[in-house]
Amino acid sequence: MPADLRLLDDDERSLVGLVREFCDREARPQSHDFESKEQDPAPLYRQLAELGITGIPFPEEHGGAGQSYSTYLLVIEELAHAYLSLAIGLSVHTLCAFAVNQFGTDAQKKEVLARLTTGEWFGAYSLSEPGSGSDAAALSTKAARSNGGYSLNGGKVFCTRGAEADVVLMMARTGPEGARGITAFLLEKATPGFNGAKKEDKMGWRSSPTWSLTLDDVEVPDSRRLGDEGIGFKIALASLDSGRLGIAACGIGLAQAALDATLAFTTDREQFGRPVAANEGVQFMLADMATGIEAGRRLYRHAARLRDAGEDYSLQAAQAKLFCTDVAMKVTTDAVQLHGGYGYITEYPVERFMREAKGLQIVEGTNQIQRYVIGRRLTGA
């Protein structure tokens, strides 16, 4: 049962129609192959660009489609329903483009944003380091003044599509310890000294490459510093507020895919002379799965509407990320359970969905960190 489209406007419905067609014909049929070969689906990213959906929530004057963030999230949910790693890639790309749109100079918008929105370039986001994950403000990659620009030295971990992306939003330290000493840079692929050192072997998202990056005397001109010195952490967090909604939408798309697969399986599979789904015990599990998904969908869409209305939405973004990805974990786990032994073998997709859901609870702030954000907002601490 696909997501309810009844209350969408015409533009949104045609956009979802376009994305569904692409998912049915291209993304879903190819997902298994790319995942099992651990191959980045570069041709599918090119098609996303051709479809004109690499810059949905950005201004038309910079090559975007001038649509709301809510509309963009519909696309993410649809993609995640078909192929999670691809949706993650678009979400990370949008994280980078968001920062350029929000904090970039006119020249940066012309040179970088316009390439990102049209999909000529894809973007990545690099905050995490070996010594700083949840405590991201403790990062130690250095950016020192040199030759009228900056020289970057250090190492990053866990950068999604870090070596595939054409430009990486890179956070590095230009000042003292703490959040205020961090500056953001737009680092282009193939800049000398900037390398993908190691591609991680992962539990899931296997066709979404996760890189350790090394920076050895990487020269970055002033023109590629994003925002003033010292506001890099603010930029990183603002991007994450937006990005969390993308991860929430990924969780709902993935959970919906798991539910759909489970409904198909349990109505078809017969035991004791009747379909498995005819048992009340099974129906109650299906009911909880469907209800969690729908509640999560309302939660992230509500947060997105606050964002579109220019309201503060970081509390709701944290709640949506937490709730939707926990729903995804629960629903995919139950999906495996309701498939019985068939859920545990790779011939059926649900074991993959379960592995994929785990990643969503960890990235862009672990779900512990989301609770920490929510708690702080509630108590003013």
Binding site: D11, S14, L15, L18, E21, F22, Q47, E50, L51, G52, I53, I56, A65
Partner: protein
């Protein structure tokens, strides 16, 4: 180059069709641009990209057929023309050709008319040839590859044995096969832009056709299911299996 592409809105071929009074049920059924016509639209767009000009989509059908035109417009066609009239319900291939010919003449001078080889719902395959006659232009059917230069077209025409290379002056009509190209997806911007593209809505009165001209000559006597495919012959290998398969193939004149 002014190109006209004939497009048809048909019940989604991925959903099993239902009959209604001896005809395919159309109302209340999810419709799509005939997948075969996507190749025609793509051919038109490629010619326009190479030679300039305009691509006009022409369709006959109920008001919902506008969806098929919008789809083609969002792929990149420039304008559309839909002939819609209650009197045309259940029109046969000849009436359809008359209506489309009148609509194409009304839309202005053209260099090339493109249609699919046959529709994915009716499969008569006679409409395009009739249309070429009514427009009084040469026709090249079963085109699987197409070049155009200096007022002529050169086409590879699919045959049972291989293909013929055919040249024709313009204006002309061609029908394209499913192998001729790979139709592009509509883009999101294309969908948005399509809403602002001009589409004419015409009735038979607007085309100056008389009621005799639009009366179907064809009667559907009966409709039946195709004979179910018979189960194949299973050869169990008792040591002579290979030989028996070879004999079977020889009998079928395959080897």
């Amino acid at each position: 180059m002014n190109i006209v592409v004939c497009v048809k809105h048909i019940p989604d071929p991925n959903i099993p069709g239902e009959l209604e009074g001896g005809r395919l049920k159309r109302s209340g059924v999810q419709g799509v641009l005939d997948p075969g016509d996507e190749f025609g639209v793509e051919t038109g767009l490629q010619l326009k990209e190479a030679h300039g000009g305009e691509v006009t989509l022409v369709s006959m059908g109920p008001p919902t057929a506008m969806e098929a035109i919008r789809r083609g417009l969002s792929m990149g066609a420039d304008k559309g023309l839909l002939v819609s009239d209650d009197a045309l319900q259940g029109a046969c291939a000849l009436v359809t050709a008359r209506v489309l010919a009148a609509a194409i003449k009304k839309s202005g001078p053209f260099d090339l008319v493109i249609a699919g080889v046959e529709s994915t719902d009716g499969y008569t395959g006679t409409m395009p040839s009739t249309l070429a006659e009514l427009l009084d232009v040469p026709q090249v059917t079963f085109v699987k590859r197409l070049d155009s230069a200096d007022g002529t077209i050169r086409a590879d025409r699919q045959t049972a044995e291989g293909y013929q290379v055919v040249e024709s002056p313009l204006p002309a009509l061609i029908t394209v096969t499913a192998g001729v190209n790979s139709p592009r997806y509509a883009s999101f911007k294309g969908i948005m832009a399509a809403k602002k593209k001009p589409v004419d809505n015409l009735s038979i009165g607007d085309l100056g056709l008389s009621s005799e001209e639009v009366t179907s000559m064809q009667q559907i006597a009966s409709v039946g299911s195709a004979e179910a495919r018979k189960a194949g012959e299973v050869i169990e290998d008792d040591g002579t299996g290979a030989q028996r398969v070879a004999e079977f193939l020889k009998e079928a004149k395959v080897i």
